[in-house]
Symmetry: C2
Subunit: 115 residues, 2 copies
DNA sequence: GTTATATTTGCATTATGGTGCAATCATGCA
DNA sequence: TGCATGATTGCACCATAATGCAAATATAAC
């Protein structure tokens, strides 16, 4: 039998509150939807036009999303184009799912027996 | 070529801000770690003993986690035993990963070409 | 250089929600 | 019934962060 701490070593690696907090804000989730819905990168102004919030707020939200690695930013002249870091996000989600699955008993019977 | 709204129909189904907000709070993430680290269900008091926050706060956090479906609660006499809804959570994460992947072009070349 | 456009940042305000304590509710037991 | 234990809820307080506006910064064009 493994101890609690060793069992879920990978879990704390992927269950990062900062990332989920970033995804948990409605305006930021809407931004991610916009970024996922169109290929390529979009400017702050383009994104702000599609949301009922100020452009400066959009800029700040994108900064938060960039800090946790779910979007990337690239300056092109006067504008900054933001893009969904789709691969990274997908990997993170799958890794977390795997970590959870490895921690939890797969059968419900085993869960009941544990008590 | 599909339009933006049709392309990501599944995404808005799985990218639910409430769920991610629930996972994004450090105390709640710690609770999930505790629940994932031990098999079976645990009482509010047990969980509260392992965290530096009041039992009433733990109870509230568990309520939030239950509302978004990442834990289940079952009353057994005087105590209420909370359990990680591991399967549901894993499914949710995988579905979101799939939805994202289907929205985003897989190759970086294609992303660049989109601009 | 100046001007125009795109974005970021400083600041003040406001909204949200995390926290602890005390009171209440729920259940089991004598 | 009354009492004990475990959990939830009401309330007040406080911390964090979302928001808009205005000012500052960055870059391109002139």
């Amino acid at each position: 039998m493994k101890s609690r701490t060793t069992c879920c070593r990978n879990l704390e690696r992927w269950l990062t509150p900062e990332t989920f907090r970033a995804l948990g804000e409605p305006s930021r989730a809407a931004l991610l939807m916009l970024l996922a819905g169109t290929p390529g990168a979009r400017t702050v102004g383009e994104l702000a036009m599609e949301l009922p919030i100020d452009l400066s707020v959009v800029s700040r939200h994108l900064k938060v999303l960039k800090e946790v690695g779910v979007v990337t930013a690239e300056r092109r002249g006067k504008e900054v184009r933001y893009q969904l870091a789709c691969g990274d996000l997908v990997h993170m989600l799958r890794n977390l799912a795997d970590a959870l699955e490895s921690c939890c008993p797969t059968t419900t019977k085993q869960l009941e027996a544990g008590r």
